[in-house]
Structures are given as structure tokens and as C-alpha cells.
Symmetry: C2
Subunit: 353 residues, 2 copies
């Protein structure tokens, strides 16, 4: 799921997004509750109509952005209190309020408010976050009465499989439409995350979507799918695209490099995206150099197309019974992509898409 | 002709530009000679191929931007010397060099280097600019030997029809493929410009395109077409679009206004552009409010579509023999558009598109 923080994927029209193969888009409750406000979104017909996307959408609960603003928050069992990054206004967010906002936004899949501690975290911090996440999940489940919007449960528990299982066991009887693993990609090394997914993801019900929030690199996706995960969202294709990093099956192309100055070849001659069909590396480098937004938009479109192509290839390998060979071969090819992620694509700016 | 200062119209793909009805696009020699440099553009296949536009293009001479940087320049009969606004490097531009650069850029229509004084200007300043413009025009004509690129002549002479005629008389024997009126929209009031066009434009040869550079509002275009002009370029549709001003047949819509907050109607219900078919005023206002570039892009696309629709309507009124009635009716309708131009859309930032 590409991320459209403020509604649209930055600079991208719905037609352009659909042409990347995207089926479902994420939008951020935190940003939209502040501007333009969920009632305005409802008056404009709801997210799908307002944005012109018209296809499935998912909204997060707003919690991740709130918890990323650590100095600004007060947390209690009741909810969380924070100051708007836009105008400093004091805002309360409770489980009930998060659902109310998401009901107004009108996405197809809603997420409950959870507590998402950064990593590393002490055992008691993780345990307390699990307790609160369970408590808030029940309140969200009770508050959500609309049958036209799915509600997932979010499992917390850090890198501790026992805490993850305790959280999941409490969520299961509540009757969620899908299950998400939250609290990853929040400071741990990728291999630590991969190990947790290996140990735990397959505990999630097999008859519901399994969603890992906020990941990741192609290598992350390979590990997660190998562990049994179905669904992802991530800003990497678009955020890195705007910075001039293009994903390919053989690693990342850094388009700001001087080597591309007069290069008339596309990012990837084998790619069928609008960027690779029409524009050279040299032109993209020029656009980035002069600060012309079209450069970041075109590379975003390439990266989104790459991610959709990548996930489609994983699905097809599974359907053909060729997953292990595909996984091993592809992990070796995309190794360079992970290296760039560690350098350049941290989750350090949660306010920004 | 929409303006693509650095190659593309800001944030707009070639497909999106073509969908506005655009037939020919302008690009700025001054900006492209500095970045990425005309040789890089040539190595990337020339402007049309590099940008992916693939349709007709016109490049200006670079002179207008140089002359707009008054404190940075030295002018002599040989040429002009200025410091790059990018890195401060000292750059020489002569008539021969302007043609050489434009030959490398590869547009379909080239413009000669001219001297373009701001208005108001003393008679002797205007006369000297005409002298130098004539001298440089001959040197450009001599320097341009390629038959696959048209070269227009530029007439200077300020608001003085006699100076304009003196300039034109000297240019006519040089054999240009079209004629442009330069040195307007540089400080004079619109009615002064309209009067000069009324007095002079019809002196231009009737068998060649007649081009007024750098205008204008819908009212400007009506006056210019009434005076016999065929061709225009202007940043208004895109620059004003990015600021949130939308052109319509009945005046300008200021999309940042709070009145549009929950307005689910499009800019113009009668408009067939991609923006009006898919997006509400309320959504556009939201995008502008949060600084999301898609807002400016969508309004730019609407404005470009409006301008193409506007010029198409003028052509059709002439072909149907209904020009005078169309002109009078439309001047009354678009009066409000001109008012906004005076407030908001000055030519005060020549470095920017």
C-alpha cells in the first residue's frame, strides 16, 4: 500500500497511481484529523471520493505519529494528549475518538489505537504497551459499529514472541477482520525484525489478512512473506523516490550521481513504468539537480511500479510452488537495496510522509 | 505556449500537458544553458526527446532573463556579461552564442538575442535598444545555418509605434520565419500595451506567425488577437495555478479562500479538464493549505486547459466570422481576471517560471 499522508501520494494523481498497479492506498488519520479535519473529509464525500482514488483505502489510527512525537505527549489508560505539529493546539486522542475520526474519513479498513513503543525497550515497557493495546483494542471494537468498514486488530509485543502471543490471544476473541503486527521498524536492526516475524507471524489466523505495518525494503518484504505475511505499507518507494533513489531488481540507482549526467538510458530498460518508458537517467538527474518536482514524481512512480511488480512476482512464485527458489535468488539480488535503506531511509521523520 | 522553464512545465508530465490541448511548449535558454548545459541536452537527444514532450518547442534567446538581472549585467555591442544565479559564475552571451546554444537545445523555433528595456524608458534608451536589437538580429541570422529550426525576428521599440516600425523595417530584409513583439509586459499598464498592439501589430507580415512574448491575461489575449496576433507564451496559467488561482470564463476562483473549505463542486462544472472531472474545490483548498504539490499541479492543468480552450474559442469565432461579437462579449466576462493579474501575477520574478 503506497502511503498518501495528506490524502494523495505526494504529487501523484489517482490515474498515475492506478497505472503503477496499486490496488489499495493508505492515508494518515493523524494528519487528516488536523487538516482538513475529518468532518470536512466527510462533507467532501469521504476519502475515496475526495481524493478521486475511488478504490480501497486503509487509515491508520493516528497513534504511530502521536507516539513518534514523544516530547509532546501524555499517555494514560484513557488515551493520549498531544500538541498539533501544525498550530500547537492541544489534541486528545482516545480509542473511541480514533474510530469516530476513521468512520468520518470513510476508509475501507480501519486500525485501532495502539501503544507503539520504540525499540530497544525494557521488558516492562513492552508488557505495559501490550496491556494497553489490548484494552484499547476492545474499546475500539466496541466503538466501531459500521459494517461497511473492516477493522483490523494490532498485535504489539516488541521482539518478544511470548508477549506477541499474549497480545494476540487477547485480541482473537474480539473478532477482528484482519491482524496487523505493529511496533516493528521502530529502531531494531532488520535481522531482529526478520527473526520476530519468523517466530511469530504464522501464529496469526490464516483465514484473515496478515499485515506488517510500516515496512519495508525488498529484503524486508521477502522475509515477511516467507514468514506468512500478506500486506504492507511503506513510504520508502515515494520518500526515497523524491530523494533520487530508484529501486530495481538489482539494487538501488542513485540518480543524483554525476555518472548519470549524460546517460540517455532509463532507470531500468526492462521496466514498463511511465518513467522508464519515457525518461532518461540524465533527464531525471537534471530535474533533481534543479529542484523540479517532476523528477521526484517520476521516480516515485517508477518505485511504486517496482514495488507492485515485486509483490506480484512474490504472489506468482507462491502460486507456482516456486517460492523457496524465488526467495533465495531474489534475496541475493536485492541485497544492495537493503544497504541503502539502512543509510538513507530511516523512519526518523514520522511527521513527514 | 505553456512555459517549461527548466524543461518540463513544473510538475507536469508530457501526457498531462498534451491532454490540456497544448500543441507547442516554450523552454528557457537562460536556465537550460546553466543547468544541465546545452551539450548535455544535446547528448540526451535534444529538448523534445529529453523532456519526452516530442512535439513542437520554442526556445527564447536567454536575453529576457539576463536583462531582468539588471545589477548583474554588463552590456556592450558585442553581447552581455552576467553572473549565473545558480553559482555566481561569470557568463558571456553573444548573438552567436545564443544561436549556438539554441542549436544544441534543438527546439523547432529559435529566438534571436535582443535588448529588452523595462518600461517606462526614455526615448533614447528605446532607440538604442532598437539599434542593438537590429544589429544582433543580423548576427543571429548569419549564425543560424540549420534549416530544420525556424528563426523568428524580434521587434523592439517600447510603446513608440515609430520605433517599432523602424525596427521592423530593418528586420524584414533579413528573412525571418516569423516575427515577435518583444519588450511588452515589462512594467507598462495593460491599456498602454493594448494601444501599442492596436497601432502596430498589423504592420507585421501577414504570411508569417505573429508572436507577442510574455503575455498574458485573457483580456490581453483578446486585445492582441483583435490587433492581429497569433502566438503567445505566458507563465500565468502555471505560476498562478501553483498559487491557487484558477482561471474561468467568468473570472478567477481563489481556491485558498475559506469559502471553498467544504465545497464539493469543481472549479468549473462546464470544464472537461482532468482537474474539474475529478476534484472538488474543497480538496484543492486542502492540498494548497498543507503544501501538497498535487494541488498546484491540478490547478495548473486546469488553467492550461482553460487557456487552450480560450484560444481555440478565439480561433473558431474568427473562422465563423463572429469575432467582433465574441470579443466584446468575452471582454466583459473576463474583466475580473485582469484585476487579479494586476494584483497577483506580476512579472517581478523573471528568474522563476
Amino acid at each position: 500500500m503506497p502511503v498518501g499522508t495528506l490524502g494523495p501520494v505526494k504529487g501523484v494523481t489517482p490515474d498515475q497511481l492506478a497505472a503503477t498497479g496499486t490496488q489499495i492506498q493508505l492515508a494518515n488519520t493523524y494528519h487528516l484529523m488536523l487538516r482538513p479535519g475529518e468532518r470536512v473529509v466527510a462533507e467532501l464525500g469521504g476519502l475515496q471520493r475526495m481524493t478521486g482514488w475511488g478504490r480501497p483505502m486503509l487509515t491508520d489510527s493516528g497513534g504511530y505519529q502521536v507516539f513518534s512525537l514523544a516530547t509532546l505527549r501524555k499517555i494514560s489508560d484513557e488515551g493520549v494528549e498531544f500538541r498539533s505539529h501544525v498550530d500547537g493546539a492541544l489534541v486528545h486522542l482516545t480509542p473511541e475518538r480514533s474510530i469516530e475520526i476513521q468512520n468520518h474519513l470513510g476508509a475501507d479498513i480501519l486500525m485501532p489505537l495502539d501503544e507503539c513503543p520504540g525499540l530497544p525497550a525494557a521488558d516492562e515497557v513492552i508488557a505495559a504497551a501490550v496491556d494497553r493495546t489490548i484494552h484499547w483494542a476492545q474499546r475500539c471494537r466496541d466503538a466501531h459499529t459500521r459494517s461497511d468498514q473492516a477493522l483490523y486488530g494490532i498485535v504489539q509485543g516488541g521482539l518478544n514472541p511470548a508477549q506477541r502471543r499474549r497480545c494476540l490471544a487477547a485480541l482473537l476473541p474480539m473478532g477482528f477482520d484482519g491482524f496487523a503486527i505493529g511496533g516493528l521498524a521502530v529502531g531494531e536492526a532488520p535481522p531482529e525484525m526478520w527473526r520476530l516475524l519468523d517466530d511469530f507471524a504464522d501464529d496469526l489466523p490464516a483465514d484473515r489478512p496478515r499485515y506488517v505495518m510500516g515496512i519495508g525494503t525488498p529484503a524486508d518484504l521477502l522475509h515477511a512473506v516467507d514468514a506468512g505475511v500478506d500486506q504492507f505499507d511503506c513510504v520508502l518507494p515515494t520518500r526515497n523516490g523524491r530523494k533520487g533513489y530508484a529501486f530495481t531488481w538489482d539494487g538501488v540507482v542513485r540518480l543524483r550521481n554525476a555518472a548519470h549526467r549524460s546517460d540517455s538510458s532509463p532507470i531500468d530498460a526492462g521496466c514498463a513504468c511511465v518513467c522508464c518508458r519515457g525518461f532518461s537517467r540524465g533527464y531525471l538527474r537534471h530535474l533533481l539537480s534543479v529542484g523540479e518536482v517532476l523528477g521526484g514524481i517520476l521516480i516515485s512512480l517508477h518505485n511504486l511500479h517496482f514495488y507492485q511488480d515485486f509483490t506480484r512476482s512474490m504472489r506468482e512464485a507462491i502460486e507456482r510452488g516456486q517460492w523457496p527458489a524465488f526467495r533465495d535468488r531474489t534475496l541475493a539480488r536485492v541485497a544492495a537495496v537493503s544497504a541503502v535503506d539502512a543509510d538513507e531511509a530511516s523512519h526518523a521523520s514520522p511527521i513527514e510522509e
